[in-house]
């Protein structure tokens, strides 16, 4: 049951082969057994989860269930969840029981899914290893001495270790895709604006996007069907007709043969993503994955994303600038942590923020404050926004020659816990291949495609044009029908 797909779980629940209470208990037991070691969850509340499961069973008994009714889903602790502790991985919110729910949480609630718990994450989603969490690092289930990636490392670990059938996550510079790659699962960051940011604690609002994590493209499509949708409470939520993201899974292309289901698909291979800095094990594994796509009928096209190398510098101006503004709300007045001793109001703010935020969050607030300060705005912030347009235009040109772009997610497989923790620049360079899609607002996903050094998973990056999620998922699904990397399971879980 722990390896069943969402479709299989849905069928088992509908035909009463298992109840939601039984299924939820199964995963709660696994969390109880393994979370002490893996640290994937910050909060589990079995009573609350089992009450939701019983509600789902009642709904199934009446026959009015939706595809995810009764399925337990773990939520990244960045999503405000009414009545649940919502910490964002920070001391600042360690006492914050949210009085309301994010749109994403409401959607899963309406679908009848069960909240399995809240997952660990880098503090305020700032990190690539889940080591900046106030709640301690998450461990990679493939080898516990290694990081699971970040910032959604708790969600990725939970799915990879079969502590949850599926999870939600968010991606500002790679925080869904990179941990998905490093733990061997499937993760999708949709087109900016597809998933509402309402109640998703803000990091960099022009880049933040929620998305699903699951074990397969098919699972991700089913999850995105629930998560996506217009929400007037998010000013950047897109008013679009609801889509069925599973619609193309089994018929991705018109008029193709069964053996070559991807005939006609043009895969763009950006030369900039295969150059210096990419480790050879990842390069070989990704190349083998593209070769597999060629066997399925796709064609390789050499492309260029010439401004790709500027994405990390531009991102580390734009994201901290937006973060410094967003995080000014944490001042010890309306919610969250307040320092216990202070002289006056100013001192209360300064001590609250010094004690409530961890080192990485403070660093980014300081960078953002500086680049937005008087005399530096044009040189840094505006400059970075101009570079952002160059990067977006690179993709406009690329998609004239190809249907999807493929490459590595991360320059290396997972690194050891502690290896980069004291070197912010090395940590930032992890996201060199994922950041461009955030800056451009394009959808991107990671699918497992093999193993590299230390037998750790490698992820394949698929970037599509705006709103092409259904097609990307279909492309990934065809690969997953022909391979079994996504079915591999870490030992000892």
């Amino acid at each position: 049951m722990i390896n069943a797909s969402l479709k299989e779980l849905s069928a088992a629940l509908a035909t009463k082969r298992i109840s939601s209470v039984e299924l939820t208990s199964l995963f709660l037991d696994r969390i109880d057994k393994l979370n002490g070691e893996l640290n994937a969850f910050i909060t589990v509340d079995p009573d609350k989860s089992l009450t939701l499961a019983a509600d789902a069973d009642a709904r199934i008994a009446k026959g009015d269930q939706a595809p995810l009714t009764g399925i337990p889903v773990a939520h990244k602790d960045i999503f405000c969840t009414k009545g649940w502790l919502t910490t964002c991985g920070s001391r600042m919110l360690a006492n914050f029981t949210s009085p309301y729910s994010a749109h994403v949480i409401e959607r899963f609630g309406a679908a009848g899914a069960v909240i399995l718990g809240k997952t660990n994450m880098d503090e305020f989603a700032m990190g690539s290893s889940t080591e900046t969490s106030f709640y301690g690092p998450v461990r990679n289930p493939w080898d516990r001495a290694f990081v699971p990636g970040g910032s959604s490392g708790g969600s990725a670990c939970a799915v990879a270790a079969r502590l949850a059938p599926a999870a939600t996550a968010t991606d500002t510079g790679g925080s869904i895709r990179q941990p998905a790659a490093l733990t061997g699962i499937t993760g999708l960051k949709p087109t900016y604006g597809v998933v509402s940011r309402y109640g998703m604690i803000a990091f960099a609002s022009s880049l933040d996007q929620g998305g699903p994590m699951g074990r397969s493209a098919e699972d991700a499509a089913m999850l995105l069907n629930v998560m996506a949708g217009f929400d007037e409470r998010d000013s950047t939520s897109l008013e679009r007709e609801a889509e069925d993201y599973t619609r193309d899974l089994d018929r991705p292309w018109e008029g193709v043969s069964a053996g070559r289901p991807l005939s006609g698909l043009r895969i763009g291979i950006p030369k900039e993503h295969f150059g210096e800095g990419l480790s050879s094990d990842v390069a070989q594994t990704v190349d083998a994955a593209v070769a597999q796509f060629e066997k399925l009928g796709a064609k390789r096209v050499g492309i260029s994303l010439p401004n790709s190398g500027l994405s990390v510098p531009a991102y580390y101006v734009i994201a901290p600038a937006e973060a410094s503004s967003n995080l000014s709300r944490f001042d010890g007045v309306r919610y969250g942590y307040r320092a216990s001793e202070y002289r006056d109001l100013l001192d209360m703010y300064c001590k609250t923020r010094a004690q409530g935020f961890g080192a990485e969050v403070k660093r980014r607030i300081l960078i953002g404050t500086y680049v937005l300060s008087h005399g530096y705005y044009d040189a840094y912030y505006l400059k970075a926004q101009r570079i952002r347009r160059l990067i977006a235009q690179d993709f406009v040109e690329a998609f004239k020659q190809c249907d999807v772009v493929m490459g590595p997610i991360s320059p290396t497989v997972a690194f050891r816990i502690g290896a980069k923790a004291s070197d912010p620049v090395q940590m930032y360079l992890n996201d060199i291949y994922t950041i461009p899609a955030n800056l451009a607002g394009l959808p991107g996903m990671s699918i497992p495609c093999g193993f590299g050094e230390n037998n750790l998973p490698v992820g394949l990056h698929i970037v599509g044009n705006y709103f092409s999620e259904a097609r990307m998922l279909a492309v990934a699904h065809q690969y997953q029908r022909a391979t079994d990397w996504h079915r591999r399971m870490p030992a000892g879980v």
């Binding site: 914050f96 029981t97 009085p99 900016y192 604006g193 022009s206 880049l207 007037e232 000013s235 950047t236 401004n307 500027l310 990390v312 510098p313 531009a314 580390y316 101006v317 410094s324 000014s328 007045v333 309306r334 919610y335 969250g336 942590y337 307040r338 202070y342 002289r343 006056d344 109001l345 100013l346 001192d347 209360m348 300064c350 001590k351 923020r353 010094a354 935020f357 403070k362 660093r363 607030i365 300081l366 960078i367 404050t369 500086y370 300060s373 040189a379 840094y380 400059k383 970075a384 926004q385 101009r386 570079i387 347009r389 160059l390 977006a392 912010p424 620049v425 930032y428 451009a440 607002g441």
Partner: protein, 95 residues
């Protein structure tokens, strides 16, 4: 470019984050490493390129000027550090 210790302290003050002298020294080194990375972008010619502030070219939506929120101040203030009579309490600002 390189940030001086005074600049680090000034930024920390602007950001309302208390910083000790020892922390300021450590932060100075890390911020300078990060700005060294960022410098790579400044040499690029972006003359005539329109800044891109957002992933989508969107117009802000307007809605009817109507009350849509119910009064939930008790619920929302239940998570505040200090409240009294429906007000958030902070140290005295005006003598």
């Amino acid at each position: 470019m390189s940030l001086s210790l005074e600049e680090v302290k000034r930024i920390a003050h602007l950001a309302r984050i208390e910083i000790s002298d020892a922390e300021a020294v450590q932060t100075q080194g890390q911020l300078n490493d990060i700005f060294c990375l960022i410098e790579g972008m400044r040499a690029v010619d972006t003359e005539g390129i329109e800044p891109m502030s957002h992933a989508q070219d969107l117009m802000l939506r307007l809605r009817e000027d109507a009350v849509t929120e119910s009064d939930q101040h008790r619920l929302f203030q239940s998570v505040a550090p200090q409240v009294e009579g429906g007000l958030y309490l902070v140290p005295k600002v005006i003598e």
